[in-house]
Structure formats: structure tokens, C-alpha cells
Symmetry: C2
Subunit: 253 residues, 2 copies
């Protein structure tokens, strides 16, 4: 048996999310179909984590086992030949041991993009959430500081998920900001050892409330400590969210 | 009679181009419908120049005359309330005299975007032309130099256009370049006093041939001097092209 690590980018707009579902086409099924066409094998391709409907990825990491005898070097070009315009394999690496995309992941980084300012930017609308008319980024940064570290993030998840614990460690929560009148561009980068369901979108929605001046930065701490989802801001829409990277141990397992 | 200067951004993907046509929806007609809804007036809105089907604009400039008595300040928000997601008015200014978007234009700047590298970037595909596998940007820059200045650009137009002269002055032709493996990002900025039909796309297609190493940089000079469209490179696709700005005299006419 051979083990492969695939790094995959996708525009999530047209998909029901990563995971196979009955209500539409998923990234997973599309990738598994390309795998079948290339290798003749019907294989389960496992991603580091699900992404929701409409969420994008610059570098989702997946694992797949194969008995194919194709040379390692053909997988990247071969899979891409069978993939549609909005999914591409950017890395296909044969792993020395039993690589598993979920089990071996140390952490992930997501990016949430918000465009603000008095005018919506029509060329950015597929990947940026538009929040008029102006965001106080300094206040957002102050609020974000309360969320860094090991905390119970129960207030920042969509209820109904079946995680055993809602404690996660946010290792970095950084806001990049660019002003190009009449547009404001805010990128939220968040790294953690794991994420609850809709956690990044809940945090983005909460920081947007602070940016709009509806709540002071300290409100983020109150919401966090409450462990109460009804206290936090709205869940930001999926199109602003993108999975940026997944971390694995330097020496592959 | 009052005169307005409108600055408009649009994603050209879903339109047959700026100009009203029989074969689909144009940006012009969509904007004129918003004007009608806001003011009650059926007016012709004139752009600085047509953009083709699928071509975008960050700041197209238009002129329109009106007898509306609405205060100047309401036009921007009012028009945007009636426009779809992919068109937005970013400026609406009442002009002191008879402003005309075509007659008064001194020049324009377009940007053509090319993504290269061994892997296509799926998140950039709506606004970047993908040209695999690698572009020699130094060679493209050398080739571009031959096109700066006052020349007969007959070799860089789609034949059939009815311009009186094919002489234009390119005041700037600049390539910006960023390498983010496995992606290469090339932006061609071109400013001129006027453009022939498909001129930027012909130039982009020609420079791409140089970047791919199919021709040396000096080939750009040969093509230019030939005044023969069959000598130049292919017309690059519309989705990489965007009208960036239109210049007018500092003191408004």
C-alpha cells in the first residue's frame, strides 16, 4: 500500500462543501472521481477537516491510500487533467509511512476577508464579505487579543456540533489592514490547533460588530467567558473564508 | 440642464460589454435603467470608451445630462440602490460645464493580468489569464519597451474597426511581477492617449509569446513596424483585462 499527501486548492462557490452530501456536489466527490479516472481505483480521500458550503481553500491537505503502480510524478498533472476549473491539486507527495490528514494535523490557519468602506468593491465580491460603511480596525485588533490562547470557545461555534470538548488553543489571531479609498480591506488570519464548527465565521462576525462600534473590544472577552453562542456576533458568510494552510510535523510520520 | 460625471466599476463577466447590443445585457443599459428608476428620466449614458464582452472596469468614466432636481449628493447612493451586485457607481459628481466622457478624455490606463507557473490558481481564474508553465518577465519587459511612444499600432488591433488613424501614443507600458511559488503573477499596465479595438489584448497576447520564449523581445518591434495584424500574437482573453482609469484635464471643462 502507498500513502499520498495531496494539497488541494478550490473555489468553494459551486460546492456543498468538502464532504460528500446528498444535496449537491462536494469537493471530495469531485476529487475522488478524478482519482478514479486516473488510477482506476475507487478510494476515499480524507481531508484535514471539512470546509462548509461556499468556503474556499488555498491549501487543503488530504490523505489517500493507493495500490496504483503509477509513478509518483504523474499524480499531480494526472489529477488536474480530470479536475474542473475550480479545483486544482497543487501538491501530490508520496509519504514514507501511514500519513493521515486528520490524525497527523498539528493545526490550521484560516483567513477571513472583509471589505469595508462606503462603496462595495464589485471585483472583490466573490472572496470578501462587504461590511459598510467603515470598520475601526484598531478596536478589532484590541478585541482579537482576548481570543488568543487556550480557551473554551463554546460561544464561537454553531450549536449542534458533536465535538467532545470546546476548548481550543488559538496560537495567532492577526489582522492585516489596507486602506485604498473608498475601500477598506481587512484580513483576519487565525491559527489554532483545531476549530469548532463555524468558529472562524463566528469570530469574524463578532470582530465585525466591534469594528462597527456596536460593542467595545472588551465585549469579546465577555462573550468568550459566557460560553454562550447567543451572546456572540452573527456568523459571517462563507465566501469570505479560506483555509490557508494545515501544519504537520516536519519529519513526516 | 445639469451635467454629471459618473465613475463606475463593474465585473464584465455577465455582460456583452459596455455598449447596448441585441445579443444580451450590457453595462450601459443596466446603468441607464438604474438612472431611469432614480430620476424618472430615460437618458443616454456615455462612457469614455466601450469595453468588450467580459472586460472589467475599476473606474470607467461616464457622462450624462439631466433635468432632475435631485440634490447632487443622492445620485451615488440612489443609483447603487438600483444596480446589481456586479456594477457599482463609485463617484457621481456634478460638473460645472458641459462634460463629455469621450470628447474630454486625455487618455486611459488598462491593466492586463496573467497568472503563470506550473499550476493554475483557481481562486484567481476570473480575473487572470492562465499561461503555463513559466514566463520570462525580463524578456517581456524588453519587448514592451519597443511599444512605448507614438507609433502606428495597426498590427495590434482586430481588423474591421473603423478608426480614422491607427497611430496612438503609448505613454507608459509597465510590467509588475510577483513570484509566489508555484504561482507567477504578471500585471501589464498600459497608458495611452487612445486605444484601437482589442489593442491591449493584442499586446498582452504578443508579450505572452515573448514571455514563453517563442520569440525574442525584438520581435515586438518587427511586429509593430509590419503594421500587419497577422504578425502579432493571439488576442488574449477578455477576463484578464480591466479599465483602471480615465484621465481628464485637472480643471474640469
Amino acid at each position: 500500500m502507498r500513502y499520498f499527501k495531496l494539497t488541494v486548492a478550490y473555489d468553494g462557490k459551486s460546492y456543498v462543501g468538502w464532504q460528500a452530501q446528498n444535496n449537491g456536489l462536494s469537493v471530495q466527490v469531485t476529487l475522488e472521481q478524478a482519482w478514479l479516472k486516473l488510477t482506476g481505483e475507487k478510494r476515499r480521500i480524507t481531508a484535514s477537516g471539512r470546509t462548509d458550503s461556499g468556503v474556499h481553500a488555498e491549501a487543503q491537505v488530504c490523505s489517500v491510500r493507493t495500490e496504483s503502480s503509477l509513478p509518483s510524478s504523474v499524480f499531480l498533472k494526472g489529477l488536474n487533467a480530470y479536475l474542473p476549473d475550480d479545483i486544482v491539486v497543487i501538491g501530490a507527495e508520496e509519504m514514507p509511512g501511514d500519513f493521515h490528514a486528520i490524525r497527523d494535523a498539528l493545526g490550521k490557519t484560516y483567513r477571513y476577508q472583509i471589505q469595508s468602506g462606503p462603496i462595495r468593491n464589485v471585483l472583490a465580491r466573490d472572496f470578501w464579505w462587504y461590511v459598510p460603511p467603515h470598520l475601526d480596525v484598531a478596536a478589532m485588533r484590541s478585541g482579537a487579543k482576548f481570543l488568543v490562547g487556550k480557551h473554551d470557545f463554546a460561544a464561537f461555534q454553531t450549536t449542534g456540533s458533536d465535538r467532545l470538548t470546546t476548548v481550543r488553543t488559538v496560537t495567532e489571531l492577526r489582522l492585516e489592514y489596507r486602506e485604498e479609498p473608498p475601500f477598506q480591506w481587512v484580513q483576519i488570519f487565525i491559527s489554532a490547533d483545531g476549530f469548532l464548527y463555524n468558529m472562524v465565521r463566528c469570530i469574524a462576525g463578532t470582530l465585525a460588530e466591534v469594528g462597527k462600534g456596536k460593542h467595545p473590544p472588551e465585549w469579546c472577552r465577555e462573550v468568550l467567558q459566557s460560553c454562550d453562542r447567543t451572546r456572540s456576533g452573527p456568523t459571517a458568510p462563507p465566501h469570505g473564508l479560506c483555509l490557508i494552510s494545515v501544519d504537520y510535523p516536519k519529519t513526516s510520520p
